[in-house]
């Protein structure tokens, strides 16, 4: 705080809160609320201002305290507002709103120190609840600020006389406790949820599980992050970054849909199996091992490069060579997935007939074209497909993100023979229809292509990287065919941002996006630096779960073990003799350490207790045949000996003098210390100078 707080936090009676303390609580509320506001209705801020305004007015004009009626009315208004906002109070957002509202309204009835402490405790709970929305770096920093402020309020409540003192104390508390916090964070075992709690709902954004050529290319308009990936081992070349997510094989003449067991009326286990490895016949060696950092989504899709093979957690492996999580993700999480890098090599259980199915009628010109090409290529599937690809590569076909809308029932005909402009969905759909018309099993794969490679090696895949391509069953395996590669190779090599035609649609919905400024060097470096930091934060701090913890502990044990091994290696010789020598050395070291500690402790005690030091000196003298007489005080004993002690005489006398000064003179602490030091030196002098061979006294 800039200004030193002159008014005390608590009034003279020790109970009622002053305006300064209420202001402090209110600022704390604002900081906590700021963490939530991006995700919560904005009228909560109005509520905070209203309550604070009432309290300020009440304090200034000495109005009566808020009565039961007003407080109940506040709670009722809050509940009604949340009901209007969400339609129910059972949703997670409504419950968070309720917590925040109660936190704000509590200020109305905050009059004593105890009330204020309750407000701070609720504030800490509300801060934690903010982590349900987001756990990024900005939220973490905001939460740190809020917690520091709340601690500061608590120190003020404990009676700090001014704000600077309270800040210093809070800084000590936070700073000294941080190492323990880190230690606990790293070492505390992580286990699964103990019971199920309501989850915040996530909008279903990103990749859609059905496509129709002619719809707007929505995804290219958004730069939302879909997922991030890091490869353990080789990273794929740009032309190999085909992330498979869904296969769409159910075509009704207009739209492509997924063929799920539920839609086809099959049993749950017919097209999927749960486990950690793919139950389907292996299709090639695992080529890529990726660590995916997935964004929260309401649907459990998981991307894989080619056919997925194995993972570190239980997943649902689908027959079409895609994979799903067992539940949607409420927060970002890590997943390790190995995959083959190529289309699956096993036939789909739905069979070849399902994958060649076309509606009875429709798209007549396309069918005619397929028939003609099939005849021209002599019924060789590979040549037929090559002819199709070559056809797409020619003018007047062009690739654009803003194609004319297709409106007729025969959309494929309209695209192939009239508009001849479109993006991946149009080309993939036309390709699949033409393949099926020739009797070749084909399906569309929806997923992502590409991703931005960061300098530290991880990839960010965004919504505008969404892509669709075709898989055709050929020579006993599914083959990937991407007609977009024929028409717009730069889309494959450089990503969606490289498309010139219709480029105005690219990121159209993203408003101000740093991705638009990729051309400006320093902006791009800044963006990449931030994304790299954010990625590491998400991966290493937020993603610190059980596996990471186990790995860390294992590494720690390994290090300790290695250290122990080097220790053993340093021993002279092995075998029983070496062990014996090692044991002896260890015992010697231990004994030395113990002895040193004991000596240090004794010196410390003697340094503080002059009586003890003198008693030890007297005992030492007694061992030399100079014991004190019956009833003789220590000082008198030393003085008596001094008469006949020769060179040790002055030192003995001085010892007695110092002892008496320390015992009886009113000394300041500094002087006392000084005299103790002098006494220590004198005692050592006595021991040095006392003549050795003296007969008993």
């Amino acid at each position: 705080m800039r200004r030193r707080q002159a008014t005390p936090a608590v009034l003279a009676d020790g109970r009622a809160l002053g305006a300064a303390m209420l202001r402090r609580l209110f600022i704390g509320q604002c900081l906590v609320l700021a963490l939530h506001l991006a995700f919560m209705p904005a009228w909560l801020a109005g509520l905070a201002a209203l309550v604070a305004g009432y309290r300020a007015l009440q304090l200034r004009r000495r109005l009566p305290r808020a009565g039961v009626v007003l407080r109940l009315a506040g709670v009722a208004a809050l509940t009604a507002g949340l009901w209007l906002q969400y339609g129910t109070l059972g949703r997670m957002e409504a419950m968070i709103g309720l917590l925040l509202g109660v936190y704000l309204l509590k200020l109305l009835e905050t009059h004593t120190r105890r009330d204020a402490r309750v407000v701070v405790l609720i504030g800490l709970v509300a801060t934690t609840v903010a982590f349900l929305h987001d756990q990024g770096i900005p939220v973490a920093l905001g939460a740190l600020l809020a917690v520091a402020w709340l601690l500061h309020s608590l120190v003020c409540l404990a009676g700090a006389s001014d704000a600077r003192l309270a800040w210093r104390e809070s800084a000590w508390l936070l700073g000294l406790s941080a190492p323990l916090m880190v230690l606990l964070f790293l070492a505390f075992p992580r286990f699964g949820p103990l019971w199920n709690l309501p989850q915040a709902e996530r909008a279903a954004t990103g990749l859609s599980d059905e496509i129709a050529p002619g719809d707007i290319a929505e995804l290219s308009r958004s730069d939302r992050r879909a997922f991030r990936a890091r490869f353990l081992g080789d990273a794929p070349a740009p032309a190999e970054r085909y992330w498979r997510v869904y296969t769409l094989s159910d075509f009704d003449g207009e739209r492509w849909r997924r063929a799920t067991a539920a839609r086809l009326g099959l049993g749950r286990g017919a097209l999927a199996a749960e486990g950690r490895r793919s139950p389907w016949p292996p299709s090639g060696e695992p080529r890529f091992e990726a660590e995916l950092l997935l964004e929260p989504d309401s649907r459990p899709w998981r991307p894989s490069l080619g056919a997925p093979l194995a993972s570190d957690e239980r997943l649902r492996w689908l027959a079409d060579g895609t994979v799903e999580g067992l539940s949607p993700l409420a927060s970002r999480s890590l997943l390790r997935l190995s995959s083959s890098g190529q289309a699956p090599g096993w036939p789909d259980p739905l069979g070849a007939r399902w994958h060649t199915r076309l509606p009875e009628e429709g798209n007549p010109r396309s069918r005619a074209l397929a028939e003609r090409l099939w005849r021209e290529t002599g019924g060789a599937p590979r040549a037929y497909l090559e002819a199709l690809m070559a056809r797409f590569g020619e003018a007047p076909f062009r690739y654009t993100l803003t194609p004319p809308r297709l409106t007729s029932r025969d959309r494929v005909d309209e695209f192939l023979f009239e508009s001849r402009a479109g993006y991946c969905t149009h080309y993939a759909s036309a390709m699949a229809v033409l393949a099926r018309a020739a009797g070749l099993p084909a399906r569309i794969v929806a997923g992502f292509l590409g991703g931005e490679r960061h300098p530290d090696g991880h990839f960010t895949v965004r919504d505008y990287d969404a892509h669709a391509w075709v898989e055709v069953w050929l020579d006993g395996g599914w083959q990937r065919l991407d007609p977009t590669a024929a028409i717009a190779p730069e889309r494959i090599e450089q990503g969606a941002g490289a498309i010139e035609d219709g480029g105005e649609a690219f990121l159209a919905d993203s408003g101000f996006s740093p991705l638009r400024m990729r051309e400006i060097g320093w902006v791009n470096r800044l963006r990449l630096g931030w994304e790299r930091m954010e990625y590491r934060w998400q991966r290493e701090v937020i993603g610190y779960r059980d596996q990471a913890r186990t790995a860390l502990m294992a590494r720690l044990v390994e290090r300790l073990h290695a250290f122990w091994e080097t220790l053993l290696g340093a021993l002279p010789g092995r075998g029983p003799l070496g062990w014996l020598a090692g044991l002896a050395i260890a015992a010697g070291l231990l004994a030395g350490l113990g002895g040193g500690l004991a000596l240090a402790w004794r010196a410390r005690r003697e340094g503080r207790d002059e009586a003890l030091r003198i008693r030890r000196l007297q005992a030492w003298l007694a061992r030399r045949g100079l014991p004190p007489r019956e009833g003789e005080s220590p000082a008198a004993h030393l003085r008596r000996l001094a008469e006949a002690a020769g060179p040790a005489g002055p030192a003995l006398r001085d010892c007695a003098h110092q002892l008496e000064r320390l015992r009886y003179a009113p000394l300041a602490a500094a002087e006392r210390r000084e005299r103790r030091r002098v006494l220590g030196r004198r005692v050592a002098e006595v021991r040095r100078r006392l003549p050795r061979h003296r007969a008993g006294g």
Partner: protein, 297 residues
Amino acid sequence: MAIAPGTPLPQRRLFLLPTRFGLGWAVLVLLLLLFGINYQNSLAFALAFWLFAVAVVALLRTWRNLLGLRATLRLPAETFAGGEARLGVTLEGGRPRHVVEVHAPGASASVSLPEGRGEAFLSLPAPRRGEPPLPLLRLESAWPLGLVRAVAWLEADERLLVYPRPRPDELPEHRLAGAGLEATDFAGLRRAEPGDSPARLAWKQWSRTGVLAAKAFSVPPRQQLWLDYDACRGDPETRLSTLCARVLAHHQAGDRYGLRLPGLTLPQGEGAAQRREALAALARFPGHPAEGPGAAS
């Protein structure tokens, strides 16, 4: 369990007790931990651990706030029954300490020692005449967060001295007769000294010369009188109250007086010492076993 005044507070005599707020804090940490486990939320884990660690550090800092503190007592100058005994507790701690509370039955005070030294004043209720022992004093501190309370007890051997309550309606009956003597035997002026009765200060000379002088008398003009227990009426405590009021009145008037109590005779005298001795004799007069100053509160 208690320490004596003047000795630094050792760790064996320092106790830590959780407060209700501290228990609430424990529940909060547990709540946040469960939140972290059930939502698999790393930042919730981190905050739960941090609040736990803050509590541990606060515990140590509370303990350190009292450790090594040395308390010495300053007894009140004079206390009359029915009033308050203002006991000074001087605290010395070498380093700055914050918000140290001193509690006694019926009284408490709080003091901060930013320079490592400070004094708290306890207003102990003193309902009865007598020589009660000092109550057990409690040193407490909940600094910095109020999660735990460090407590130590302080026990002193000294006793308070509580004089009887002066009877307000008691006027010294010899006052009128004595008034005439003073004016006649005026002998001159002497330099005024602290403790001179205001009635004998030479105000006129002061206004003229600026030197404060007192009137001196060659013959003791004061009444020479005896305050006698047996001459008073009422039960023993009432008599003592009457005598107390008279001692105060005669001292104020500058009289020379003696005190006769059963079993004790204080020879005639004057001045602050005589007043103190007379009042102490009244306070210590046997017969009414006085209880501790806080017992009746």
